[in-house]
């Protein structure tokens, strides 16, 4: 009682003050609401003096362009183009990068002048909902489209013939294996001998796993993960998740069936370490360091991961052998959103960054296998060796694998279906012992339920 009446009294004394405060509060809220959303996105004010412009490039993972650890391509470009400043913003996780990019594309704001695209999402980017948002790099920027591998260009071409992305790297695949564990299991360790064990057929790879298991050191497995094996097998198949028309048709795909059956066979035979690749808790990473498994499917970009995770103490233990069947796992593109303020300059920069000469430089520093035909055949790539892997001729192994790649048609749902198949199908069989037939039914239900076609 007492408090409430005194509060009322105080309120009266401050009447005029309160009115002013209220007015300010209302104005402040109003302006905050009006200005809160919108406009800090595009770089402003940098075009004023002398045609000086800033080009932003959005990437994920490691593209090897930057001036600090990469091939210093930005510094080189700004030397010949003094009016241009290049800023790269990098996101480690490719999935998160893509989710953000999709959102920004839909709002046409917050976009970089150049955006990198991963091959798993290229079909979505060239699809009807997004195709119109990209500049046609076949006509602007002066890129030599003919220099790229034909299938790489085809992947980034829209239905009406626009090339929306210029190829950076590709992901030809080999098998990396731990020589110490192979020796302990009484298997050959020489890379040509090892490749012969499984040449031509994934079934032989499983058979090698069975042999490995007989004499394997305790606590180790033949392969890192069944889902990794699934990815490796499907990467070497001419039909993956989509039919020739680019429509999702994973249920009738011989490639999916073969990859699924191989992965299930490896799980049944207990040939895998039951890990999930790239898991955020680092269990997979730790297994490299502790030599928990003997083989891992090894796209060219995987060599960097092995080097980082297995660490210097395991230098010389790992080697690379040709895969049972050549395949491609991964690879990226550079694309230019149409709505950018400097789309023309951005297209020129993208064309320069993906030209054969620059491919060679990036390969030399970062090991990304180039997607231009001449660079693949050049001595710089052919003679390349990796000291961490005991001077393996990586260039030869990977360019040979690249030559054997049969590009598969892709659909815009590939990435999602692949996640369901590996994370909710195979991982479930592997870690929880779910019956494979039941797991397959579950995947089908997931696709039906979650993909809103």
């Amino acid at each position: 009682m007492r408090t409430s009446s005194s509060r009322q009294g105080r309120g009266r004394g401050h009447r005029t003050v309160s009115k002013a405060v209220a007015a300010v509060a209302v104005i402040a809220t109003g302006t905050a609401l009006l200005t809160g959303c919108g406009g800090d996105d595009n770089g402003k004010g940098d075009d004023a003096a002398g045609g000086q412009i800033t080009l932003r490039i959005g990437t994920f993972g490691s593209f090897g362009y930057d001036d600090a650890t990469g091939a210093k391509l930005y510094a080189e470009y700004t030397k010949t183009h003094p009016n241009i400043k290049i800023v790269e913003s990098n996101v480690a996780d490719g999935q998160k990068y893509w989710d953000t990019l999709k959102l920004r594309l839909s709002r046409n704001s917050g976009l970089s002048d150049i955006q990198a695209l991963e091959v798993g999402y290229i079909a979505e980017a060239t699809g009807p909902a997004m195709a119109g948002k990209w500049a046609d790099l076949g006509t602007t920027g002066g890129a030599d489209v003919g220099a790229f591998l034909d299938w790489k260009v085809k992947q980034a071409t829209t239905g009406d013939g626009k090339v929306i992305g210029l190829g950076t790297d590709i992901g030809p695949m080999a098998i990396c294996y731990n020589k110490d564990l192979f020796a302990a299991a009484k298997l050959p360790t020489d890379r040509t001998e090892v490749a012969k064990l499984w040449a031509g057929d994934w079934a032989k790879f499983i058979a090698t796993g069975e042999t490995y298991k007989k004499n394997a050191p305790a606590g180790t497995a033949f392969h890192d993960s069944a889902s990794g094996l699934f990815n490796a097998v499907i990467s070497s198949e001419p039909m993956q998740y989509a039919n020739a028309k680019g429509e999702l048709d994973y249920q009738n795909s011989p490639g999916v069936k073969k990859a699924w059956d191989t992965a299930v066979a490896a799980t049944k035979g207990e040939l895998t370490a039951k890990l999930r690749q790239f898991d955020e808790k680092g269990t997979w990473n730790a297994a490299f360091k502790n030599s928990k498994f003997a083989t891992v499917a090894c796209p060219s970009w995987m060599t960097g991961i092995i080097k980082d995770q297995a660490g210097p103490e395991n230098q010389g233990k790992w080697d690379i052998a040709a895969p049972p069947v050549a395949g491609n796992w991964g690879g990226s593109f550079l694309a230019v959103p149409k709505s950018g303020k400097h789309a023309k300059e951005a297209a020129e920069l993208a064309a320069w960054l993906t030209a054969p000469a620059q491919h060679a430089k990036v390969f030399g520093v970062n090991g990304n296998i180039p997607s231009s035909k001449d660079t693949l055949a050049s001595p710089a790539v052919q003679d390349a060796k990796l000291p961490y892997f005991g001077d393996t001729p990586v260039g030869k192994i990977y360019s040979q694998a690249a030559a054997g790649i049969t590009p598969a048609p892709i659909s815009r749902w590939d990435g999602q279906v692949k996640t369901f198949l590996t994370d909710n199908g195979i991982l479930d069989i592997e870690q929880r012992g779910t019956d494979p037939a039941k797991a397959w039914e579950n995947v089908k239900k997931l696709v039906d339920d979650k993909i809103d076609q």
Binding site: G9, S106, A129, N424, Q431, K450, D452
Partner: protein
């Protein structure tokens, strides 16, 4: 008091007439009754009537922009097939009817319920116990009161990452300790119940102290005489806790139950981060996917914004349903108390 407020708020009487009623007395700076200042009285009335609205306006404007509009827009989306960047197509109630037959939805609903129960119930019981202990005069009481709130101040991400390491199947501390005790390692992430228990542990750890402080505040408002009377009657501490403390703080307990239920039904961060790379789908077999995770997966991973909106609305309706049930329970509780009090009064009167 109530009458005076009503008289002031009504504003029909002239200002001078209000002054005595409001008890402000002669020192009140209110205007004198005078014919000239009609506009001033209008202003004064406007001030009384409008200024409160102006003061509360920022909240309601913000709420309308960031609460109400998204709510309505989500409702509209839930009746369409929408994709980010694309245009919406009318689907009617199809998004809802497909939820009814989706086993993933029912699975997520069941998981939300089970994780909610095994995290909320122990959490509130432990909070009650802790609050009771802290209510005693003990040395360093201030320190302990701050300390139990520390988990609440920790971010979900930090806490979950630490717990995820502890519960790591291959390298985690918990399985290591279990190994010393001779047990087989538990697959904390890939088995259903261990995963749900691990997630509940994180939730319990974070919120127990918070609820304990709320209980403590309520317990301190319980009149000391009740305890003294109970002690005189020979009641033990435990008896006092059951017969004095619990009934006295019943409304507070109900409040924490409601808040915890809302929190549990929106559980998102803990399972997502605990599951690591397969967190969004709640583990490889959706074994700990909650409704919020399912909504996120639909909206942001597979891009089905319409279906995600439908889940959001179903969640809202479920919460309203739970809220309604709890109101009914509390009302019947209150009635019972009133009846009991009435009975006691009649007994005393007779």
């Amino acid at each position: 008091m109530a009458t005076s407020v009503r008289a002031t708020g009504g504003g029909s009487a002239p200002p001078a007439a209000q002054a005595p009623g409001s008890g402000a007395g002669p020192d009140s700076p209110g205007p004198r009754p005078s014919g000239r200042s009609g506009w001033r009285s209008t202003l004064y009335r406007l001030d009384l009537k409008a200024v409160p609205y102006v003061f509360i306006a920022p909240f309601f404007l913000t709420f309308a922009a960031f609460g109400l509009f998204p709510l309505i827009y989500t409702g509209w989306l839930s009746l369409h097939r929408v994709e980010l960047g694309g245009s919406a197509q009318w689907k009617g109630t199809e998004n809802y009817s497909s939820l009814a037959t989706s086993e993933f939805f029912w699975n997520a609903l069941a998981n939300t319920f089970t994780i909610g129960v095994i995290s909320t119930v122990p959490q509130l019981l432990m909070a009650l116990g802790l609050a009771h202990l802290l209510n005693y005069k003990l040395r360093g009481r201030g320190f302990f009161r701050v300390a139990i709130l520390a988990p609440y101040a920790t971010s979900i991400a930090a806490a979950t990452l630490v717990f995820a390491q502890l519960f790591n199947t291959d390298y985690g501390l918990i399985n290591t300790v279990l190994g010393w005790a001779g047990f087989d390692p538990i697959a904390w992430e890939s088995s259903k119940w261990p995963a749900q228990i691990a997630i509940s542990t994180i939730v319990t750890w974070r919120w127990t102290g918070y609820n304990a402080l709320i209980y403590l505040a309520a317990m301190q408002a319980v009149p000391q005489d009740l305890y003294e009377a109970a002690a005189l009657d020979g009641a033990t501490r435990w008896r006092q806790f059951l017969s004095v403390t619990i009934p006295s703080i019943r409304p507070t307990i109900l409040f924490t139950i409601i808040v915890s239920t809302i929190g549990a039904s929106q559980l998102f961060g803990e399972p997502m981060l605990f599951g690591g790379s397969v967190g969004i789908s709640g583990g490889s077999g959706n074994q700990f996917q909650t409704l919020s995770l399912l909504m996120y997966e639909k909206g942001w991973v597979t891009g089905a914004l319409g279906q995600a909106s439908a889940i959001a609305w179903v969640m809202l309706l479920l919460l309203l349903l739970i809220g309604g049930l709890q109101t009914l329970v509390s009302r019947s509780n209150r009635n019972r108390n009133r009846n009991r009090a009435g009975r006691i009064r009649t007994k005393a009167g007779s």
